[in-house]
Subunit: 226 residues, 2 copies
Amino acid sequence: MKEGPDIARVAALIGDPARANMLTALMAGKALTATELAGVAGITPQTATSHLARLVDGGLAITRKQGRHKYLALADDQIAGTLESLMGLAARIGHSRTRTGPKDAAMREALVCYNHLAGAMGTRMFDSMVGHGLLEQSGEALRLTDAGARAAAALGIDVAALSRGRAPVCRSCLDWSERRTHLAGSLGRALLARFEAEGWARRDPASRAVRFSPDGRRRFDALFPA
Amino acid sequence: MKEGPDIARVAALIGDPARANMLTALMAGKALTATELAGVAGITPQTATSHLARLVDGGLAITRKQGRHKYLALADDQIAGTLESLMGLAARIGHSRTRTGPKDAAMREALVCYNHLAGAMGTRMFDSMVGHGLLEQSGEALRLTDAGARAAAALGIDVAALSRGRAPVCRSCLDWSERRTHLAGSLGRALLARFEAEGWARRDPASRAVRFSPDGRRRFDALFPA
DNA sequence: CGAATGTTTCGGTGAACATCGAAGCATGAA
DNA sequence: TTCATGCTTCGATGTTCACCGAAACATTCG
């Protein structure tokens, strides 16, 4: 009964407001410095140091030193998935902070989950790709079809390079606000990167929201029809 | 940035060893009394009282009074899903307790996730049903096919009654040990109940393990071929 | 009705933990 | 080389929280 994974330890690491805020900020997928994270959490740099040490020791974050700057990132994209699950649960049982504002609507629409698109547009993209035969599901396995590979290549994505990498090309990731799946994996990452490179979408530097331009939205809708 | 679901609160509720142990025990899906949960967590009844009050106030557990007995259960099966996600993460980043023992192997094979079958047999059942056209996936949507409905009826499951209920008939649930999907929803629950009613499988009262008899295992394998 | 059992309340204790001011160390730029 | 900035260490503080003994309340059974 008392064997197996120690969820209390992991949950306790997430269960501090300052640490939770920093982990949430890292969900946007961009590495942040210790000082930036201290700002995000509203604490002093010395307090951040001790919190970040715990996250790193606990395996939730990794560090990279660059001169006097120390960058931190989530250790693994599964952590984003678990944080999403906690968000979904917190939303469901009514644990929210502050009143909803304009940013909430934007984040329901499109946001970054670690390195790929989430929110309504993320799940719509996934459903469209499955419905139009670009992605194929067999049990849990998620595979890019030939048609999907062609479509990705047409977007300028080097599918062969993705396949050669260690990360899975396609992985499903549960979206907390939609309670549906969005596309993770190296393809999910590459797609978001393309949307940004093409100027269709921009990341909001102050949150995880992704803003599509009107033109970008039109192109997205054309590419991923319902 | 500081808006939206308060994951710190939820995680802090899970992040106490006593409470985590109690939540894990409730994942087996059976309602337990306050005194039983105190035993599971290795604490006194008065300490359990205060912990359980926090779980109930926090929306993670519900209570039902029966004379002098107070029964508790997880408030929602999504909680089991989130706990599974935390288990997967804890296992992945190396937060484990005590050495693995025989029970671990049994639990990897077949175990209860709230009210449905999980573990290797749970994910195998899901994959088989999808691969043989009993379940159909379209994006996140998971639907029982006509062939699936017939197979379930042949097992003695009242599919029409399931469909009339409020709960989804089929829902996918991520399995932490397998990193694959097993079947939740009212069909998942009904299937596990049938396996038990037919004598194919028995729940281990001291853990979440499900023990299949040799005959039950043979029948399961025949029903859900690879 | 008295005894047994399940659960809760009350009050107190000690440990853990988040926090920050002060100071120090490391790095980069002028 | 000096100054500025990022980060860490040290030491102390106050709060929170898990815990339990004792007692009380609620229910059940003989």
